[in-house]
Every structure is written in C-alpha cells, then in structure tokens.
Symmetry: C2
Subunit: 516 residues, 2 copies
Amino acid sequence: MACANNGSECPDTKDGDDEWTILERVCRMLAEEGYLGPSVNQRPVVEFEHPADLKNLIHFPMDEKAPISEAAIERIIRQVLRYSVRTGHQHFHNQLFAGVDPYGLTGSWITEALNTSQYTFEVGPTFTLIENAVIEKCLELFRFGSNADGILCPGGSMSNMYAIVAARFRAIPDVKRTGVTGLPAPLVVFTSEDAHYSITKAVHWLGIGLNNLVKVKADRRGRIIPEELEQAIESVLASGRRPFFVNATAGTTVLGAFDDFNAVADVCARYGLWMHIDACLGGTAALSTTHRHLLAGADRAHSLAWNPHKTLGAPLQCSVFLLKERGLLHECNAANADYLFQQDKFYDIRYDTGDKSVQCGRKVDAFKFWLMYKARGSAGLADLVDHAFECARYLHELVRHRDGFRLVLEEFQYTNISFWYVPSWMRKEPAGDTTDWWQRLYVVTADIKERMVKRGTTLICYVPLLHKGIGNFFRMVVTCHPRPSHATMRYIVEEIERVGEELNPTAIPINGTASG
Amino acid sequence: MACANNGSECPDTKDGDDEWTILERVCRMLAEEGYLGPSVNQRPVVEFEHPADLKNLIHFPMDEKAPISEAAIERIIRQVLRYSVRTGHQHFHNQLFAGVDPYGLTGSWITEALNTSQYTFEVGPTFTLIENAVIEKCLELFRFGSNADGILCPGGSMSNMYAIVAARFRAIPDVKRTGVTGLPAPLVVFTSEDAHYSITKAVHWLGIGLNNLVKVKADRRGRIIPEELEQAIESVLASGRRPFFVNATAGTTVLGAFDDFNAVADVCARYGLWMHIDACLGGTAALSTTHRHLLAGADRAHSLAWNPHKTLGAPLQCSVFLLKERGLLHECNAANADYLFQQDKFYDIRYDTGDKSVQCGRKVDAFKFWLMYKARGSAGLADLVDHAFECARYLHELVRHRDGFRLVLEEFQYTNISFWYVPSWMRKEPAGDTTDWWQRLYVVTADIKERMVKRGTTLICYVPLLHKGIGNFFRMVVTCHPRPSHATMRYIVEEIERVGEELNPTAIPINGTASG
C-alpha cells in the first residue's frame, strides 16, 4: 500500500487498484448480513448488547499502527453489520424513518462515489441542475408559486434555522451587519408546545434566547390553538418585545398533528409575522391526492421544511427548505467568497448556487430524491404514501378493537398511531384508572420495549407527553419503506401482547424502575 | 411495483425484491463509467456542457407520472455519470478535496445502506461507539487531553458555528435563555483576513453581526499578525464592545498558511478570549510526524475543527469539531426532548449522545474515517500525507525553475502551491510588470482554466486574493487521493503550458472579459 521510495515516481500501483475490490466485497457482505432487500427479515431487528459488552465484542479504539489485511477489514465490517440496527427490517418502527427506498439508496451510493460538493456548477454540473429540479418540484408540491426558492440542507433542524434567519433578515434588513444586540426590543418566536425541539435549539444558536420563545398551547390532538397564538402575540407586544416568526407544524413528532394552517396564516397576516411550517414529517402527504388536504393552507406560509428522508424513505439526509421570496436566501446568506464564486467565470454563474447556503461544502442530497421520483413517477410515490396511510388506518382499527389495547387519541392525522397495552393482570384490577395504575402502565410500557429490544423481534418507540400530563405510550409511525402490510401491523400488536403477558406483575413497582 | 389491491394484504412482492437489483447494476455502471478506481483516468475529467446545453442532454424536470422501466432508469443514471465531474481523476485539482479513499467510500456505502441516525445508542449502537472512538483519536491527534469532547457535524462551517456558540455560552452562561439582545455590549469575533468566509456567515446567523467581526491583517504569506490581533482587541475594548472569540487558521483556503498558534494563544490568554482553530484543511498534517510541527501550539486552543473529507479523502462529509471542556457541548446545546432521550431507558443513557448536537437526525459520518484508519493504520495514513507533501514540494520546485512560471509565494506551508503561467508572448513584452500587464495575466489565467475545462484534461482552481491586491492565479492543492505522483504534478505544468501557448494574444483585452 505504501510507496516505499517516497520521493520518487509512484504511479498507480497494483496495490492501489486492489484496494478498490473492497467495494465489490462490501456489496456481498451487505447482502449476506441482510442489509439489502427483504432478506433482512430473516434476521433479528437488532442483536442488542449493552455498551460495555459491545466494547468487548468489537475493538473500537483506533490504535492500529500498520495496515491490516483485507481479511481483517472484512471481519471488522461484518462485526459492525452484525451489531447494528436493521432499520430496513419490516418490524423496525422506532423512528420517523425506517428502511430506504432502493432507488434512493442507489442515488446515495452514486453521490458518495462521485464525491463532490453542491456549491458551483463547475464541480457539480449535473447535481446543480438536479437540485434545481428538486426545488422546483417541491415548490409545485407545496404550491409555493414559481417565484419562490429553496435549498437542500443537512436536516430539518437546519431548515428551521434557515427559516428563522431569513425571517429575521426580512424583518430587519440591517441585521446581517448589526447583529441583534443593539435592537430596541428582543425578537420573539412562537411555536406550539407539541412542535419539534429544534426551534428551541435554533433560538439559542441564533442569539434570540429561550426567554423569547413562546410555546403556545396545543389542543388535545396536538394542534396549535390559534386563539392562544393570538393571545400570546398580544401579550408579547404588551411586554414591549417584537414578535416576528411563527412556526406551525405539519405532522408533529409524537401525535402526527397538523396545525390549522389557514387559521395560523390569518393570525400571521394580521400581525405581519413570518409564517413557517415545519413539515419535515407530514410534508410527505403532499405526494398523495387523497391525503394532501392535511396541508390545506400550507401554501400561505412564507417558508416550509420537508424531509423526504423521514417516512418517504429517501436515505438520511434529504431535507428541503423552501421559501416564497426568490433571491432572499442569497441576499441573506451570501458572503461572496472570491476563491469559490469568481465573477469572471466563462459560464453563467447564476448556476453557482452555493452562496445561498450557510455551509461551504455541501453534500449532494438532491439526487437520491430525484432518482426516486424519476423511477417511480408521481403515481408510484403517491401509492407508497397512500399505502402507508392505509396500513396506519388498519393498525388504528386493530388497536381500537383489541382487548387490552387503548388508543391515546381516538383520531389520527398522519401515520402516527399512539397506544398503550394493558396486560391482562392489570385489566382485572378493580382500581382501574387511578394514578398508581397509570404509573405502573408507564413502567410496563418501557418494560415491554426493553424486552422486545432484547428479543430483537421488533423495535417501536415509547414516548411520554409530559406537558399533556401523559406518561409513556407506544408511538408507531407507519413508513413507506420497507413496504408495510396488514401482516406487519398485526405483528406489532401480537408481539406486544406476547411480551406484555410474560411480564411478572410483582416485579412492576408502583413508581421507579422496572425489572420485569 | 404498486399494490393494486390497496386495502388488502400486500406482502413483500417479487416486484419489491426486484427493485433491489438496481444496486448490483449501479456498481457495474459506476465501474464502466470510470468512477471506481484508476480506470477513471482513461476518461476526461469532465465533459463540459454549458447549463443551457446540459438541460437539453438530460431531462431534469420531474414530470414522470408512472414508474419508468429499469432500462430507462439505467439510461438516466448513465447520462448523469457521463456529465458529472470525475473528482477521482488524477488530474482533478479544483477543490480542497478530490477523490475518495476506497475504504472511506466503503464506509459511506455501508452507512447509507444501514440508514440510521447518530443520536441514540438504541438506533446506532455500533456507530455511537465508533463516533466516540473517532473523537478520542482526534483528541489524541491534536493533544486536547482526555477530559475533552467533540462531535461530528455537517461541514467545517458548522464546526466553526459550534465553536462560537460554545464560546459564547462559556462567556455568558445565561445567553441560552436571554439571547444577546439585552447584552450591555456587543460581542466581537476576531479572525484573519485570509481566514475562511464561514466565520462571516456564522456571525450573521448567530446574531452577532458583521459589524462585530474584526478581520485582522495577515502577513504576505497569509498568517495572522499577532500584534495586529492584539491591537484590534485593544481598539474593540476601547470602543466599549466585548471581545470573546478568536479564530485562528491551520491551512488557509488559498495559501495554505498556518497561523502562529503559540502567539495567538498568548494573546487570547492575556485577554481571556476563547481560541478556536479552523484546521479544516490543515488538520490533516497532524497525522504525519514529519509535518505535524505546523500545528505547534494548536493544543492550546479551546476548540478546533478538522475535515478529514478535504485532502485526506474521506468522502464528503466528514467533519470533526473538538473542544477542551467535556460536558460543555451537552450543557450548551441540550434540549432534553422527551420523545428521543427518555430518561427511563434500560441501558446506560450516557451513550445517547445526540443532545450535544444542534441537529436532531444526524448522518453517520464517523464510520468512514474509522474504517480508513483501521484499514491503513497510523503508518498508512501518515504515508498518504507525507507523500502528498512530497508531491507538493516537487511541484513547487518544478514551478520555481520552469520558464514562464511564477510562484505567488516563495515558500509553502500546507500542500497549496500557487502560481501563474506567463505565456511566451507575454514574457517578451518589455513592459513586464506594469499594471496592464498584470491585468492581462489575470485574464490569461482565467482563460487557460476555461480551455482546460473544455478540453477536459485537467481541472485546477484559479483564485484572486483581492485584499492582498493580487488577481487570478492558479491554486493547486495536492490531495492524498487519488495518490498523486511526480508525473501527475508534471502534467499540470505541461498542460498549462500547452494551453497557455495556444492562446491568441490579440484576443486578450486589457481589461474585461476574455475570449481567447
């Protein structure tokens, strides 16, 4: 591998060629270890080991001095594959994402192999035009009009920061130069108490401060209460601070709630505030003619964030940020670096789009979604989304009618279905709905999860909603990949039942940690 | 592909299986189109087409209604491959990155296929421990001690923002809640005029404002002048503002300069300021015992950013942010989301490291570097770095002694070599060094670049350094992948000569655009 004769000629050696054969072998390894396609389902979702134990199984420290053999490299890779989580397994439901779309993964592998950055046409001619096409398609999907703009960025939290920065720049054009320290009044951001925590992180980073973030009350189903929003704005105004930004949500993280965008837009229009929609999760509904009604009024927002990498199955990361005003992203974020965005290039430099970004080097995240769209067409993607909704409906019905299961909400909007399982021995208890009983149910929920992880049969998330006074429940999110089915939905309730019935009632304490 | 019987059972179909075969075919396509390994060198670096023409060659709009055939998908992929830039070509030198390390690419493909997020041990058991190992190794490389911390993030611009946010939090512990609007004095950031523009973008985003960014004068070679820094701090103090952060650079973007870190650290210590080092480019020198002296004093910084995805050849993106104070990242950035970082998990939740991040979902970027390190060992990586430096030295000597070439700097620190080519007809001109002559040389430089792009023979960047009163020159950065050689270095000067001599002297205007 090394070129011993360091100062002399060292052309491409046979060794150098040989190194590339690892890529063929890794495809075989991935297939054999159940990471490409449906064969994954013959494996456990995860072979769980505690951190301390996993450290004994894989040598993590990087203390190799000399190159290791190809066989040793393969051994290490197989160990990593063995103890990783199979998110493409039909029984993985732990996050808002799961398996990948194979065309999306194809796009990923190509962009990784082509190793370039999304900043100038010069080094990304195809990818520049592909990103433009993806943005145009998204603007059309969300009915943002033809004079709008967008960018792909590393995750929804970043998209939400882009939105706040753009809104602030629009509200105070001089803010880029002056900063916010000298402002006569603190700027205030509004979001719902059910919205994603990235808004909290953003107001810290952007110098706004958590004291200037108002978490507006949401209803039982997780939707912001427009009257509460209006009241919150009024009281901020009365305090002498300056409202400028409202974050609405399309598909909240836990309950999958969609705010009433028309109502929020009315409030924002009344007070002249920037309306952003965090549609990172629920934006996928725009692909379905049946379900896009959930986004009614979303076209009235100033900006919107959508992550095709969540339920749609584009590989992580694929996040789109859209905003109505073309040119604003560039005006707001440009630094005009001489060394990258030379003005005397021989081609049309309007295609050097990188200065719209707060990043310099930027991963090519557009191609994977573009390829998915090309391969499946709008009808194919709509089918994936409709089918996920259909499976969510089936699961909802299943849970509603099955002994021992209780829905957290009688209704669902996105594909999030939330519920508890009450083991038969708890059902018999006469003191059904006391606080103690609920506390025990929360412990039971975490305990069932623990057992399922250790069995490796299924991974499903449990969450509390503390601001609603609710403890742990199962939150199932039906995703497009791997293609769900009624059978996989049934498996969830059956497995939870099986595990829940195995629990030892005497080991569930009234409060505190479970042992099971 | 679609499941016609929408509401009913739809298990994994043969169609669903078939979709995965695209991944085998894409490996073949990548190899055939010259994207995996040295066969790339039999192709042009790029088949350049202007944006308008490229739009006629590839159908970019996403207007497909129905799924398209596998043959059509393959056709589209091959078109994209044909017109993309071959950054892995031995004559691609246009950016601070070039080709990928094959083990790095292997790591990328695996993480893409495994599609998970770097936030909880639960969904990334192996990758959590791998990220920890990478951070520990980097802390050791930069001698940050064992009580330090770090995180991988999407690019150096983000790393630099992390640094400023951490420094601000340490300077004003209440800033997370209060924001910066009410502060008695604006906060001020210092960087050198030769430093990367991401600091400019960061001060805007973080609410500090460009008026509160002081660009300190650098010397001819691009190194910050410590006395100028001290003077700038004094004058900011005199103006009633509050200095808090100094950005030093290890390997400036254009000239590859390393600041004198001990001198900068002395100044920072004197005034109690946070010292950050943007070592995104030059941090790679830490891998080499021969060249790590460039980083002398870097261990005195409070934080440091390094991108193994630049010259080292880890696939984009692979960026490490390090800071001395363990726990600060978490304290500063945590939002304690109930639904993700549940406190009643059954495993040791100190391994849920995601709340250190400003992102929620976060790509697994550690594995590719970990695998590169495991495969090559410290000696293998050191050899790659030493060899790149050796080739840079060779190129520097070549340019120094060859007729018609002029170095921008007589010395080099990192592997950046900057120079002009003066065509023979310009060498003969008696009015050698007049302003007009230089203006024409700047046009010639851009013109040579244009011709090389159109020929597809080599891609090399030209840049001006306007704040130093210098126009366009070639900036060559020698990278580790694909392995450079004296032959590839010679090719650069020979090709520039060939193209430069073809230029038509009468077509080079005194000022304005070139035609050639």
